[in-house]
């Protein structure tokens, strides 16, 4: 908490704060922010529930609240998976979802996980980082995350119910920002968000982004990013996408995907340097492998060896496609997803 208070400032007026009795009080505007019964610091006012069944999710949190250890939760996983449609071990708790963090250096760092969700990255990362600040605008998810941190006795995880565009930090105070599966939701405001985050990073601090590639082969096959998207949408001109969304859903599109070049230029425009791409297959949520380069034919070599190590027909077919692309030096351009690291 001491470490957290060093970087925390009032999200409303950026004033200095003091902590007292499970509350943080702004010394300037006198606003009070409280930690709730789940240990979540509530800053946001509007809950953006993101899931299938809010009521069941709250029942799940209630059940976890009564537990005293992570082992107890582990024993009840099957039961909880059955009763809570939003909960699955693989999606919410599998530490392998944070494996990509082995790509970077997070030891002793102050890490802010934006859109932290259930904590599948924040929780495993707490082992390495000095402080993990998990932020999500879905109250149920961040409550779940906070409870998991309690069950795992992680003292260096702070859970905040908040918004990525209203952060309670001092400038130049954060070592790492993580945005896995989040940036795309900022649509036209992606640059604005990156410019905003830039000021909170320490000099030399890094932003890590996990995101889909607009040129992912799955989009050429007509697959959609989510339900409120049209088939082949990534390839439509912006004005047409806008128009079609307005007609069909009566609102502008919320997702914006870019190409490798597009992300590079976006980050460069926001002031970031040393922009580095990692190519994640088949996705960034549960990668099978991540390549550090798309230039040396190593993706081809790896898959060629993997071919000899089995896999079903679908896997073999996809691997064949990626190998062909890599032979033409195109596996990176058409990689399904990226992890991107950029420095301040």
């Amino acid at each position: 908490m001491e470490e957290f208070l060093k970087i925390f400032c009032c999200p409303a007026c950026q004033g200095k704060v003091e902590a007292k009795n499970n509350q943080i009080k702004c010394l300037n505007c006198k606003k009070i922010f409280s930690f709730d019964e789940d240990g979540v610091l509530e800053i946001a006012k509007k809950n953006s529930f993101f899931g299938k069944d809010q009521e069941k999710m709250n029942e799940l949190i209630k059940a976890i609240r009564k537990m005293s250890s992570f082992e107890e939760l582990e024993k009840n996983i099957l039961k909880l998976e059955k009763t809570s449609p939003d909960f699955s071990f693989k999606y919410c708790l599998d530490p392998r979802r944070a494996d990509w963090t082995f790509l970077g250096d997070f030891f002793g760092k102050i890490v802010v996980d934006l859109g932290a969700g259930y904590g599948s990255i924040s929780i495993p990362l707490a082992r390495k980082a000095k402080l993990v600040i998990a932020i999500d605008s879905c109250l149920e998810r961040i409550k779940f995350l906070s409870q998991i941190a309690r069950l795992k006795n992680l003292k260096n995880v702070i859970s905040i119910f908040g918004d990525a565009i209203k952060l309670p930090f001092r400038e130049n105070s954060i070592d790492r920002f993580l945005m896995v599966g989040l940036l795309e939701y900022f649509g036209k405001n992606q640059e604005k968000l990156l410019l905003y985050l830039y000021k909170f990073l320490k000099p030399g601090g890094e932003i890590w982004i996990g995101i889909e590639n607009k040129l992912s082969p799955i989009y050429f096959l007509g697959r959609r990013y989510h339900d409120e998207e049209l088939p082949f949408e990534p390839f439509l001109p912006e004005f047409l996408t806008h128009l079609l969304h307005k007609i069909i859903w009566r609102r502008p599109p919320t997702i914006k995907l870019r190409t490798k070049k597009g992300y590079f230029e976006l980050l460069k425009k926001a002031g970031f340097r040393d922009i580095q791409f990692f190519y994640s297959f088949p996705d960034y949520k549960n990668p099978a492998f991540i390549a550090s380069t798309d230039k040396e034919g190593i993706i081809f070599d790896y898959l060629h060896r993997k071919k000899r190590t089995g896999g079903d027909f679908k896997v073999k077919l996809i691997a064949k496609g990626v190998k062909i692309l890599d032979k033409m030096n195109l596996a990176g351009i058409f990689a399904p997803t990226f992890f991107i690291k950029a420095k301040k």
Binding site: D105, P287, I290, S292, T293, D301, T309
Partner: protein, 304 residues
């Protein structure tokens, strides 16, 4: 590219080379593995652990020990070579890359390879044990100590048989030898990996049985069919398993019937390892196997 492990490799192993060094991060396994490429060729692997650092340190110590033990023997070439254990905030085990197809995949490529692969593996195991014969013992006290590691409570008859029978010896063992850890090509074994469970005092028969059981589950799956087709059926695979068991027994002068009597020891060891790994499927499978070994002991390698 400035990943800390890459920088370490460049600084310590490839200083004179200006060629490009890159990596693939392989993530579908129990550990996180980096495969490093120099000039488009895999040259080294780095193993990191998600949470069990001590296992990684143990593996490094084991590899160093094995290379000392096998110095001058031909078998040394097949033991994976550690390049170092470095601390980059957490331990990173660096090893030389070994070519070859994992045994479980190799033997699934047809009957011929399904016979060849376990044969190669058993020959390797016999060679491994034979090269370390000076470390063997059949002291009863030592045997009891080992048995107690895998079995709590009064020892059952199969453990007593193993303890009393002097032809069964304690020896350095791989500890959890499975067919997948053999990297094989058509011309033989290229290397053996994963010595995290190596121990100076272990039950060699458990490694042998583990090889056969893991071969069976690679062919038939982790199910009752694998048990039946390997131990309670007469077919080409069970004949092969029987032959390999007999070959081992002949080499070490063990009575084959006595050997069949100690099969459940393997299951106890496997259950103990699977429990540590919290692998419910494996626990279930090995419990089923143990029950079959005990209840249908007289029918092993018979048609039921």
């Amino acid at each position: 590219m400035c990943h800390p492990i890459l920088s370490y490799l460049k600084e310590n192993f490839f200083k004179e080379k200006n060629d490009s060094l890159n990596f693939i991060l392989h993530l579908r396994g129990s550990a996180v593995v980096f495969i490093f490429y120099l000039n488009r060729k895999p040259i080294a692997v780095a193993k990191l652990s998600r949470d069990n650092f001590s296992e990684l340190i143990q593996e490094y110590e084991n590899l160093k020990k094995l290379h000392q033990l096998f110095k001058g023997f031909e078998i040394e070439k097949t033991i994976e070579e550690p390049l170092g254990l470095i601390n980059l905030g957490e331990p990173v085990l660096l090893k030389k890359y070994i070519e070859g197809i994992p045994g479980d995949i190799y033997l699934a490529k047809g009957k011929e390879k399904a016979i060849k692969c376990p044969n190669l593996a058993v020959d390797w195991l016999i060679n491994f044990l034979n090269n370390l014969k000076s470390y063997r013992t059949n002291s009863k006290d030592e045997k009891i100590k080992i048995a107690k590691k895998f079995y709590q409570g009064d020892l059952p008859s199969y453990f007593k048989l193993w303890i009393e029978n002097k032809s069964f010896f304690i020896s350095p063992t791989v500890g959890d030898l499975i067919i997948r850890n053999f990297l094989v090509e058509d011309d033989g074994i290229k290397g053996v990996i994963d010595f995290a469970t190596f121990e100076m005092k272990g039950i060699p028969e458990a490694d042998l049985i583990g090889l056969m059981v893991s071969s069976a589950t690679s062919i038939f799956g982790l199910n009752a069919k694998a048990i039946k087709n390997t131990f309670f059926c007469k077919n080409w695979f069970s004949s092969e398993v029987k032959n390999l068991f007999q070959k081992y027994c002949q080499f070490f002068k063990i009575n084959f019937k006595d050997f069949l009597g100690i099969l459940p020891i393997y299951s106890d060891r496997a259950i103990s390892i699977a429990t540590k790994q919290k692998d419910k499927k494996l626990i279930e499978f090995h419990s089923m196997l143990k029950e079959s070994f005990i209840k249908k002991q007289k029918q092993i390698f018979q048609e039921i």
